[in-house]
Subunit: 182 residues, 2 copies
Amino acid sequence: MASRPSSLGYALLGLLHFAPQSGYDLRKTFLTTPLSVFSDSPGAIYPALRRLARQGWIAAQPGARGGRRRQVFAPTAAGRRAFRDWLGHRPTRDDVARGWGVLMLRLAFMGAVPDAPLRTFLEAIRSELQAHVAELARFEAQRAAEMPLEGRLAFASGLQGYRAQLAWAESALAKARRKEKR
Amino acid sequence: MASRPSSLGYALLGLLHFAPQSGYDLRKTFLTTPLSVFSDSPGAIYPALRRLARQGWIAAQPGARGGRRRQVFAPTAAGRRAFRDWLGHRPTRDDVARGWGVLMLRLAFMGAVPDAPLRTFLEAIRSELQAHVAELARFEAQRAAEMPLEGRLAFASGLQGYRAQLAWAESALAKARRKEKR
DNA sequence: GATCACATGTAAGAAGTTACATGATTCT
DNA sequence: AGAATCATGTAACTTCTTACATGTGATC
């Protein structure tokens, strides 16, 4: 069994859940949407697609191509299972502190699978964020005095960012709960 | 001439501006401070130090070591020049949108060199952030309707994060101006 | 004297970057 | 026919990860 895909791999797998498409299509998505955190370079995408195919998580759809030579990929049953597992596991402290982008990627993709655990996901994020903010605040109380202005400013940027995400998490949870009611 | 160092390389160079120290000391810093975004793995740090030394930006201080075998590095004149250049160049749109961590690293290190261009740095960040937030807001206005709840939430997290940083930039600028007055 | 913390190193492999290469198809 | 675009591929290089290796000085 090969190792886990990188976040680029999961991004590709997730996009293929919305619609089967080719590597070229995926590159265009990375170019024209806020998903542009990912590279659109062919040297990254095509190898990543081959790795997913080798792992049996995606497969090229058989022909019906009178048109250009192109390979349209779709997730396999195993790929859908792996993707749901990835979406489902509880966000950790480390995810929140250093992997925010990946968390938001997972969140965005929850729209592509039925019965995604949206509420528990957001609750875990909130709780880990609270702990993280508390720890940073403790650090600031203890050490801010010895830091130069510039260091304090940089630190404050981080702390304020996490606080903003905490506020976001609260409001996102409220929206998710309202959606569940229906 | 070799290529530019990675951000890990600049992080090491910057820490050596605060105080000459060994690879082991630097690892501990990465372990015990919010600089923990960087890996503390010896497989990353020692090769990075060698690259900086090969480039002539840092040098091991000559002996006076009756104690343990350890190499204490300090920036050279060329290293200090390169570091100031790195701190000085104007933050771009891409820095703000995808390289926030590196920007804050640069900011934190401005406390370690005299006459760092703190105010122009913060002004550039603010202006690029304004443009970025405006573009994201435009994107949201046009495309939010077609996105599922989960996608909208993830997008909102990004937008709110950038807005928080914009507020932070305003207040940081005010503090920097107050400092200049003295 | 054994063990632990200090301090550095290296080897194998994964993943991404840049840059170039190669054909097919559509457009003018 | 020639040019532009579509679509994929590959080669060389860089950096980081994981894991293991090695020796020294301090501590119990």
